[in-house]
Symmetry: D2
Subunit: 313 residues, 4 copies
């Protein structure tokens, strides 16, 4: 490094702004054996660290740079030492470790995806066979900045559909509007949601029961999706969010990204066929373009802190 | 066309070989209403036709070319007129139609993917809310060539795992072998399978109950995967295939493509940690490269007719 | 709607936060004919609108909801009426239209991807044959909020590699560090970048020459990538950003997301083979996990306004 | 193994059919240094072996099973020992090695994908900076069965488009035909091709210059695509294949899979706009469904040996 003099700071024509670095997508499977009954947790862990990293960028000094390879090793070692109770608890432990262990690291963000496995039904008492469930992917994000934690739970890839009780009418029209009103349409979407927990790691505050909270949040949003007579995907989104916030006091806000997975009723008139919804219709499932509805629903008084693109990543 | 003279056949320096054309990936959803209880079948249908198509290629004459757009329309119209009983029955109907309706079309191959939906549990008696199941994708392929049918059932994307009862030892070694033997490893794979039915549409022959046959075939291959103490993925593959062939007389052969989804036990010794399988280990789920095991299992006396790449598409 | 009374606002147990909606991924190709010489612009356009949308969410009133289908129609009609000069100019035009035309719409964000085509070399003077270039994807994002515009340019999917002049040494170490220092490694990444233009649509301010600016920004970041002797990907990132900011006065800040596409030198010692970098080595191109380096580089005095996840979408 | 008696062969209710196994997707980058000028070859190599593997499936004996991990090691060691002259030559060398080295292995099939890199233009004489080209992916497949070789070259992902000189008229019509004839449409496709070389490794027969042959084959098929006034994608396919076969004596047959990447002219009449092709039209680039045209073109007298699904994998 000696022969690469750092430009005097005054002379800089460009300066460093917000930055973070880390190891993304460390895939870790933890098996726990309870005699012949095995349990698994299957995670994809992404760690992002920030802090005193100016010189790494300006002069190429790596003195403060803990290698991303070390973040990977830490994920594996922690899975073995402490097990994986839940994505949220595991991410809290990792985020605390990184910010506590090195002065140069002031902020850690840990993102986790969890893949669910269900047991394959067998007659023997052994329980070590699994099929990947494949419905939604559970996600969590824990950020530690200074002392406090921010914990997001959530999910992606949950495709849901109502085959009736959905209409779209009475909308605004302009010179480019050709859409026909529809009193009985299919409503389908692929739910991506992130919810923020009130827990911030304050002394004496008990963390939520993360797994139970996840299950109940999913149950509530599915129930609201199914039970709501929908005038629009916006209205359904609000109903889903409101039901979660109302029933889960540990959750302060929830943000959704809901692509409208359009199913268009096919026009079969040319072939002498009707195709009415009431009668059991045939639909074309379209790929692109698609409507995309995004919104946050909050407990009154809570702050909206989940940024825009968090749910569309 | 008049001003584009066809080269005399004798002069041809290149000739047409095997060919087919059609519409791929027509996405059709059929809803059936039984009062407030709705049922759905959600398919992706690909039609490939062949026959007397030489002039289409040589001179650009489209006289024998039924547009692919027409194949798409036919899929939608048939779904409305006849409903969708099962992927196999729907594909049989389409293949028969194309080969019967036009002399120039001598062979039709219809491939179908089916996406499964499960009901969202609600308290109301209405039943029109669904979540896409997301585990495996069911596939079917029906080929009609002349009078007979060939029907393949199958599936893709079924990820399964045994967390013990798998070893890999006693293998051949050469100068490039560094792999260590393992007496207790994870066995995980993503099952892609195609099975061929004995039914060929012969007069008087009753077709199988397609949906029931599919469910039972999946049940048997899963059971064999779970119950087999595995010395290799090859052995497990054979056990899965044999069990299907033994229990399902309507199935003549089954071909698998089984990628070995490697889960490597992480070496944690540097951190003063053991990581034994018996003790509940931590694994790295690798992406690439991966072992890939492919084989057909047959009823004795049956012909192996499912080609190589059918299961790796 | 009459029979669905809106809950009194006071009684709400959940409230609406930030929200937007629109049509995503409208795929539009515009051909321009200049005699026998054709030109193409091939875009993927995503429109997101926000404003007075509370009732759409709370009560299902669609009175203020311009259908997303209308946004799609507008994209097509504008492409025909006004042509597509550049992704940025087209997005500016659309964003202005949506916010100017309806009082309820206060903010419009238009995201564009552009796919580049190169001409197929032929001997004839006709120029209507193209091959999709496939290197990077150009992106743009225009936001209009009130009167001002914010314009981001950028790109994704640009994979680059230096086969030497890269080292990683002198880094911090802790109990979980096992990585060996490397004085001659491969540095490869897939560049995702977004840069913010100073232009905000103020009266009298001439917009940049968008296409030329894009080309030059790409040229500068590529040159900096190639010319920098790298002590880390962080340092290379800064060099890339600084060069763009220094040479392009129209650009205020640039944010990168740079995954470290690890190429590990294979250990071939067991086979009696050396594998030194200096000697022409063999590398394993790894998929996951990967280091991920993200940072903003700014013109001194400029604000860092490009959020975190913009570059990792 | 002792305690797992093999069922007597006579008793078998299911038998093993065609099978192969190996390591898929070994990602290898080879750098060659010629002073400060570096060259790279970047491959994805998949090896599939077959032979005397019955017992591996029936009884779980691995005595004849060379681990797939060894195939991976061999790829890396050969890249270092022998370099990578071309995908075809490298695959020939590997296939020969596997079949020659072990009696139990009777057939080896090696599939290779190659990713092209172009140099980043810099002013310095150093030449070690590259950008991944990203247009097409080159592919090769070498099979050795007994003594002879079969070599396929080819490519995938090559997206091409003609913005005029394409029509579709005079086609067959049935009750489900609604398509309108079009005298000036866009013709776009994503070329997947595999061609078979006449070279089989016979004594004294010189192999083709693989890299030059690849480049010329691509040039010819692109030229034919661009120069053909198209009455259908079938006709264009034949023209592309015929031109390759006519100009490249080393190539016996070529098979294409050409999805019709539909670009539909948008109907803008409702907005008072024309949208004629002659005038510079706006098109909607559709995703699904799509026409799919597959055919082989042969040198007269050659056999058609490339199977169906080879080009659609």
């Amino acid at each position: 490094m000696a022969d690469r003099p750092e430009p005097a700071r005054a002379a800089r024509t460009a300066v460093l702004g917000p930055n973070q670095y880390g190891k993304a997508e460390t895939r870790v499977l933890k098996v726990t054996r309870d005699g012949a009954v095995h349990h698994v947790r299957d995670l994809n862990v992404s760690v992002a660290l920030s802090g005193d990293m100016d010189e790494a960028h300006y002069s190429g000094s790596n003195a403060h740079v803990l290698p991303t390879d070390t973040a990977k090793n830490t994920v594996y070692a922690f899975a073995r030492e402490h097990g994986i109770d839940s994505p949220e608890a595991f991410a809290v432990r990792l985020a605390r470790h990184f910010t506590d262990s090195r002065e140069a690291i002031r902020r850690a963000r840990v993102r986790v995806e969890e893949y669910a496995w269900e047991r394959i039904d067998v007659s023997s008492p052994a329980r070590h066979s699994f099929a990947r469930r494949g419905r939604e992917t559970r996600v969590a994000q824990v950020t530690r900045d200074g002392e406090g934690f921010e914990v997001l739970g959530g999910l992606t890839d949950l495709v849901v559909m109502n085959t009736t009780d959905s209409e779209f009418r009475g909308y605004a029209k302009d010179a480019y509007t050709t859409l026909q009103e529809d009193g009985d349409r299919i409503l389908a979407t692929e739910v991506s949601a992130r919810w923020r927990y009130g827990w911030t790691g304050a002394a004496g505050a008990e963390p939520p029961a993360w797994d139970a909270s996840y299950e109940q949040a999913v149950r509530h949003l599915l129930t609201a999706f199914a039970d709501t007579y929908s005038h629009s995907l916006q209205q359904t989104l609000y109903a889903m969010g409101a039901r979660v916030v109302e029933h889960r006091p540990e959750i302060e806000e929830i943000r959704f990204s809901l692509p409208n997975k359009h199913h268009f009723r096919v026009d079969l008139e040319s072939f002498g066929l009707t195709n009415d919804a009431a009668d059991g219709a045939v639909y074309f499932a379209a790929d692109r373009p698609y409507g995309l509805i995004e919104a946050t629903v909050l407990r009154p008084g809570a702050d909206a802190r989940i940024p825009d693109d968090t749910t569309t990543r």
